[in-house]
């Protein structure tokens, strides 16, 4: 009895192992082929990598500030002090404020448009399937095209400046939040809406009293998440002239103002991390309050 059990078990284990081994070999061969193929295409090899590494080290050494411990807190005229490193701080802060505002405005307007469109992009709230289809495809397009491509286009049309960046980010925000919002709508409980319908409520009050109260915490949490993403995006849109601190960063990297590169990058990191922490805290509270 027990012997046959063990035998049975062994048999099953063997099949399992064989299946797993097949998968492992399949995956390894796939990855290996991919590696060979792709390193051929972009002409990468060990010697190029190795010759580049010291240059990378040099570059990092150049952009890092030369701080000296005994003059760390002296004024901006003394070499080796923090204020010498950050002599341009007022300008950076001004640009950082602009970056922050770009992200915030784009998030607010984008999520309002997304909220409006999401009712037409959710199966259970769309008036008919044609509108549903069109809205979905439109959102997909705005989500699929990278925002920096939109930014290039709008910089060309509207001129250099933050407005182009805001519109680019807004479009992308609309695309991705519209999809997320519509999915939240689709997963919502249908009973409150049915009750409102049964007691004679129209479509508008159905949405306002039956749908929004249940989905709002989720929506806000998605909006906050999007705000984090937009803060990151707005730091780089300046590369193509769409405003924010990215424009200055692009400039100092290309003109080799070495220490300013690290100064700006550290500021960006500080901003991004603090916004992430703040928004993470808010999101956690919203979800817990639910």
């Amino acid at each position: 009895m027990s012997e046959s059990l063990i035998k049975n078990h062994n048999e099953r284990l063997k099949v399992l192992i064989r299946k797993r081994r097949f998968w492992n070999i399949f995956l390894s061969i796939g990855i290996l082929l991919g590696l060979i193929f792709s390193s051929k295409i972009i002409d990468i090899n060990a010697s190029r990598l190795l010759s580049g590494l010291p240059r990378l080290g040099d570059y990092v050494a150049q952009i890092l500030p030369s701080l000296e411990t005994n003059s760390l807190f002296l004024d901006s005229k003394t070499e080796g002090s923090i204020s010498y490193w950050y002599f341009n701080l007022p300008k950076y802060l001004h640009l950082l404020f602009e970056t922050f505002n770009m992200a915030l405005v784009a998030t607010i307007i984008g999520s309002l448009i997304a909220l409006f469109l999401s009712f037409f992009a959710a199966k259970n709230t769309a008036p008919n399937s044609l509108i549903y289809f069109i809205t979905r495809r439109t959102l997909e397009f705005f989500r699929g095209v990278p925002e920096i491509i939109f930014a290039i286009l709008f910089v060309w049309a509207l001129g250099i400046g933050p407005i182009a960046g805001i519109i680019a980010m807004m479009l992308h925000t609309t695309g991705s939040l519209g999809k997320l919002f519509s999915e939240v709508h689709e997963n919502s409980d249908v009973r409150p809406r049915e009750a409102l319908k049964a007691s004679g409520g129209n479509w508008f009050s159905e949405m306002k009293f039956g749908l929004l109260p249940q989905v709002l915490p989720n929506l806000i949490s998605y909006i906050l998440l999007r705000f984090e993403i937009n803060i990151r995006a707005s730091t780089i849109l300046g590369f193509v002239g769409a405003g924010g601190i990215g424009q200055e960063l692009y400039l100092v990297i290309n003109f080799n103002y070495y220490e300013e590169v690290s100064a700006i990058i550290f500021l960006i990191i500080l901003t991004v991390i603090s916004i992430d922490i703040l928004s993470g805290y808010l999101r956690k509270n919203i979800i817990e309050a639910e």
Binding site: I42, I44, L56, I108, I148, F154, A157, V240, I268
Partner: protein, 274 residues
């Protein structure tokens, strides 16, 4: 029961809006104030915007009129797409390989002392704070123009995120297999190999696949700062105002991304079911 009786029964429902939800009104007012402030701050004028958009009309029209379609340089576009995919692939693989030890070292499950974990996590936060495009710009400075800088940018940026996700997967793993191995006298290495790795490997692989998807998107834009690939082809055509070809490339990118999404989703589902 008349309407009045119902209103007397639940008076709080029929308060005026500002009394029922002051928070809502407050939020609305602050958002409106902020938007008015930002109109001033950005010197926004509707006139300029409309002017700009009217300037865009010929662009939009030329985007969809493909007159000399058969004379376009499809070869360079194809190579661009292959380069972009290769960049994404190499970057993801390299980042995944480095992230396995880094992620395990940053996990509670493997390293019990908190100091090294703390250091690694802050280091990863630091990497994640810098956008991939900034990394690309730095690598282009150090390694010169070309896809190699793109691969390295993806590698560095992804190492920051993947290691964090890997460490979280290891944190959430089941303790029992590990305890079983420890109690039967296994060494530290074989505890990891047979207790932890079998649990987390499917998650690691599916996350890497997911990152390959998102990298094939980000590799597109790396071309704009000089890291080659389809992004370079696109931005060159946009600079030269070949809007028709630019739009064609954008469509190709959308198709490429959609196909990769499908394939990778199918693979991930297969992996999770295994």
């Amino acid at each position: 029961m008349t309407d009045k009786d119902i209103m007397n029964l639940h008076p709080q429902v029929f308060y005026p809006l500002w009394k029922r939800s002051p928070l809502f009104i407050l939020t609305l007012i602050s958002i409106l104030t902020y938007l008015i402030f930002s109109i001033n701050y950005f010197n926004f004028s509707l006139n300029d915007l409309l002017n700009g958009f009217s300037k865009m009309k010929p662009i939009l029209i030329s985007m969809v009129t493909w007159n000399d379609f058969f004379t376009w340089n499809f070869n360079s576009i194809l190579i661009g797409i292959l380069q972009t995919l290769s960049m994404a692939f190499l970057g993801t693989i390299a980042a995944s390989i480095v992230s396995i030890p880094l992620g395990l070292l940053a996990s509670r499950q493997v390293v019990k002392i908190s100091l090294p974990r703390f250091i690694i996590r802050r280091f990863l936060d630091f990497i994640r704070g810098v956008d991939i495009l900034i990394w690309a710009l730095i690598f282009v400075r150090a390694f010169g123009l070309g896809p190699l800088s793109g691969v390295l940018a993806i590698f560095v940026a992804d190492t920051g995120t993947l290691s964090k996700l890997y460490s979280e997967a290891a944190d959430n793993s089941d303790n029992k297999p590990i305890e079983g191995l420890v109690s039967s006298g296994a060494t530290k290495i074989s505890t990891l190999r047979f207790g932890l790795i079998p649990q987390v490997m499917p998650i690691f692989i599916s996350q890497s696949l997911y990152f390959f998807e998102s990298n094939s998107r980000s590799a597109v834009i790396l071309g704009i700062v000089g890291a080659g690939g389809i992004g370079l082809q696109l931005s060159e055509r946009m600079k030269a105002q070949y809007w028709d070809q630019a739009f064609f490339i954008i469509l190709l990118i959308l198709i490429m991304v959609a196909v990769i999404d499908r394939v990778s989703r199918a693979l991930r589902e297969k992996l999770i079911n295994e």
